[in-house]
Amino acid sequence: MRPSTRWLIVRTILGWLVALVMAFPVFWMALAAFKTELDAIASPPLLFFTPTLENFAEMNERVDYIAHAWNSIAVAFFSTAVAILVAAPAAYSMAFHPTRRTKDILLWMLSTKFMPAVGVLVPIYLILIWAGLLDTRTGLIIITLMANLPLIIWMLYSYFKEVPGEILEASRMDGAKPLQQLVHLLIPMAAPGVASTALLAIILSWNESFWCINVTAVNSGTLALAIASFSNPEGFFWAKLSAASLASIAPIMVFGWLTQRQLVRGLTFGAVK
């Protein structure tokens, strides 16, 4: 056996090991979702059991799954769409017309992510009350949008930076104004990057739970709130929590699965030149 083949086998085994360790909690949760509450807390843990769907039925009785899912979809897609619309011109001007302050502004935007969200919970909560946006989809969309904007601008900025400057100069000679450069050249040319940025933003907003739990309730709660409602002071229902979690992550997992090629390509774009 040649050393390269042996190395390939070792790498494959290692890769599978890491993947299994990382996927195990999700796998275990998925199993628990189909167990009775008794089976779920059995010791030693049961790998084989009689599956049941009663957790899902009960979950749907307690929380309105469809309403929460709709909120999740609305918040994730709408906040992402608006964020890209806002971020693209910002990234354009920073990538192609940088000033002495551009680097500082970029770092400053990122620095807003250094602080734990809870640090601004009270002011934002008060602002939402004042603006009448507490427990509204609009309020949550605005917060999610703001939270993801720095990352989106950073990603678009780095994708736009990869577009050769001479192409934009050629388009200026051809008569393209900044908005036309963005629409006809930058966005199509950076399309893989823009797409993966959007995908990442959708996933981040879908999974966002801190703001959702704190500023929404029955009207605009997303699936994250639905999950959280199953872990409460009165008790901890493992099987129902698992069922709720599985129902919440299933849509985004399917979405991620379908777009994984795009996602991986976008996230490694530029790293392997």
């Binding site: 001479e166 192409i167 000679m173 051809d174 008569g175 036309q180 040319m189």
Partner: protein
């Protein structure tokens, strides 16, 4: 009519002045080449004309209109970039028609213009391809086509051939010369390659450190370079520049002496250089001949047989080897002792201590 005029044009980056008050007048339908070593400012100058770089001071006129503050697309120019700068996600046809599309030219007219440009450049069969599917030469032609479609007043070329291999470069050079004739357009071309400059230009502008060193036709620059810099830059193989001392002067010229005390007569004005002054003598490689009674003695150090000609590098005891161009079948060998003389029709060039050309003693007869 398409003329370009620069009046005292300068460019500053912060406190650094990169273009120092240039004056230049490009005539209608002229093929003018900016040439110079890298960093001389030739590309910056082209980009200032294009409108991609701001002009710090001075005025730029296109067809007599001051355009300093006119945006690039409104100046009526088209530019071909070194990297071609094609739009990678668009087909060749869309690349060619992009400017027309932005200008809201009706589709039928647009297509006709694109087809006409494609025909000139033999791109008709490639119109549906993307730039990624084209060879270097084809991309180059698309880049030129994109300029042609706009029917500009002036074409600007920024080192367009430097990414092509040698054979293709020669071919594109000929094609560009043909285009210039066919379109009868004004063209400004930037290159660092003096061969490109010599072969294509009506007039050459030699730039050095943001200053115009000399403007003239290729042969003017070759035969009457204004400075040692121009003399050294134009011509291949390079001119031999030797340090000399003026030993005598007369109405028909001066005598100079090489470090080895060999005296050579140069028809340069004696009143411009006093006896005893140090100067630089310029001898083109083809100005030298091997002759048994030649004044300059040396030993052959390197021989390059190029077929049509033979380049011989002779050690005459100076700091650099003397380049001599001989016939292709010359039997000269390395190590051979030779004697060199200035050929009967050759005119040695003389430059003063500052490197500026010394004017001729007798003005060449006007034709």
């Amino acid at each position: 009519m398409s003329t370009v005029q620069l009046k005292a044009v300068s460019k500053q980056y912060g406190a650094v002045e990169v273009m120092k008050g240039l004056d230049l007048s490009v005539r209608d339908r002229e093929f003018i080449v900016f040439v110079g070593p890298s960093g001389c400012g030739k590309s910056t100058l082209l980009r200032m004309i294009a409108g991609l770089e701001e002009i710090t001071a001075g005025d730029l006129f296109i067809d007599g209109t001051r355009v300093n503050d006119v945006p690039p697309d409104a100046r009526g120019l088209a530019m071909v970039f070194q990297s071609y700068a094609l739009y990678p996600h668009m087909t060749v046809a869309s690349n060619l028609g992009f400017a027309l599309r932005l200008a809201r030219v009706p589709r039928a007219e647009r297509e006709a213009k694109v087809r006409a440009a494609a025909k000139i450049l033999q791109l008709e069969n490639l119109l549906d391809r993307k730039p990624g599917q084209l060879s270097g030469g084809q991309r180059q032609r698309v880049a030129i086509g994109r300029a042609i479609v706009r029917q500009p007043k002036v074409f600007l070329f920024d080192e367009p051939l430097s990414n092509l291999d040698a054979a293709l470069r020669v071919q594109m050079r000929i094609e560009l010369a043909r285009l210039h004739r066919e379109l009868s357009a004004t063209m400004i071309y930037v290159t660092h390659d003096q061969v490109e400059a010599m072969t294509m230009a009506d007039r050459i502008v030699v730039l050095r450190a943001g200053v115009i060193e000399q403007v003239g036709t290729p042969l003017e620059l070759y035969n009457r370079p204004a400075s040692t810099f121009v003399a050294g830059f134009i011509g291949s193989p390079k001119i031999n520049l030797l340090p000399v001392t003026v030993t005598a002067g007369s109405p028909i010229g001066v005598k100079v002496s090489l470090p080895s005390n060999v005296a050579i007569a140069v028809p340069a004005a004696a009143d411009a250089l006093p006896v005893g002054a140090s100067a630089t003598l310029g001898l083109r490689p083809e100005a030298l001949v091997v002759s048994s009674d030649g004044p300059i003695g040396g030993e052959v150090s390197v021989v390059e047989h190029l077929g049509g000609e033979t380049l011989v590098y002779v050690d005459i005891g100076g700091a650099t080897l003397m380049t001599v161009k001989l016939a292709g079948n010359d039997p000269v060998r390395v190590g051979e002792k030779v004697r060199l003389a200035v050929g009967p029709t050759a005119v040695p060039l003389l430059f003063n201590a500052e490197g500026r050309a010394v004017r001729a003693a007798i003005q060449p007869a006007m034709q």
